[in-house]
Subunit: 195 residues, 2 copies
Amino acid sequence: MADDAEEMGRKPRADAQRNRGRLLAAAKQAFAEKGVGVSLEEIARTAGLGIGTLYRHFPTRDALVEEVYRHETSQLATAAERLAAELPPVEALREWMLLFVDYLATKLIMAEALGAMVSGREELHAASGTMIKAAIATLAERAAESGAIRLSIAPLDLLRAVFGVSNASAGPGWEENAKRLVDILIAGMRVPPQG
Amino acid sequence: MADDAEEMGRKPRADAQRNRGRLLAAAKQAFAEKGVGVSLEEIARTAGLGIGTLYRHFPTRDALVEEVYRHETSQLATAAERLAAELPPVEALREWMLLFVDYLATKLIMAEALGAMVSGREELHAASGTMIKAAIATLAERAAESGAIRLSIAPLDLLRAVFGVSNASAGPGWEENAKRLVDILIAGMRVPPQG
DNA sequence: TTTAAATACGGAGGCACCCTCCGTTTACAA
DNA sequence: TTGTAAACGGAGGGTGCCTCCGTATTTAAA
């Protein structure tokens, strides 16, 4: 019944666990308030810890970001499963992409992280990135297999395109535009009714 | 015949002119080799000048970038005019977007700059940004006026989407994908024949 | 409890970069 | 030739990144 503690050989010292939590909390708030570019020193200070401690727990800035956003990301993955089960393939794909836009909009904090994972350097944010990629790939491929759309580009590129529109775009209407883009993309991929 | 020296009240001192040129040359090469993030100190050193001189000529990193890329950008603007004159509206729009992809691909050096100008902080790269925006806006609006497509998103968002796919995307096939995305976008905006 | 090994902590220190400020040098016009 | 506006250069102060290692704490064995 020791399923909670996924495979970990040793036992982390109590103080280490506590401090890890403090760092994550401080980081989450700092990222939200100032973006993923905040000074790591500031995060450590906010957590009441030394910079060395931060670096021991999270050797790179991205390791920290990864940890902070893993939870949020998994919500997107969960939604993908639900949509796939409840809706016809193309609709599921469309809805999930719209949800993706919502995530970029609502949790502006996530935009940078999602962006980084969607656009390049895949090594970073490995875990979250894998979830997202799996979600969009599955949905897109199911939609393609249903015959309703033709998948002429890599599924992840759909998200890249959507992210491109959201990315720091100044205009207050970007969310609207991003959602319209989703529909343009779906329409552009649709197979014409009479072959 | 004094058309070369666009309106400038005073006369810049000879050494100032020469050094400005050196800085631009050094910057162009450095940007090409190491991206727009290079140390400005290194650029100044390469140009055989002091860091203070660089900052006097180009108060911000972006002022320097702007200057370096203004020429390249104007080529895109010129191409837009030519295509608009030679091709039917939708084709002109499509071709120019493909050309945009080529620019991102060929002059990888430009990708960062074009990206920055296309995605947000419009104040930076003002001059180049204006050119690009004017080009896509004109082409897109002409295509929409022809009745062949429906322009449901901001023209610039088309470029944002394309840029999103190109943006640091690791895969070697990104250029292909970006071009296919252009066709998906065009197809997605096309007005159905018997609307 | 005592004790010693294992582990974690903290922050000084070295490095890189940014940008400013101002004393020195230079170009050029009178 | 000479006075001065303009340009130069780099030291200096600030911030951030990351490493390293002496000190402090926890844990478990005796």
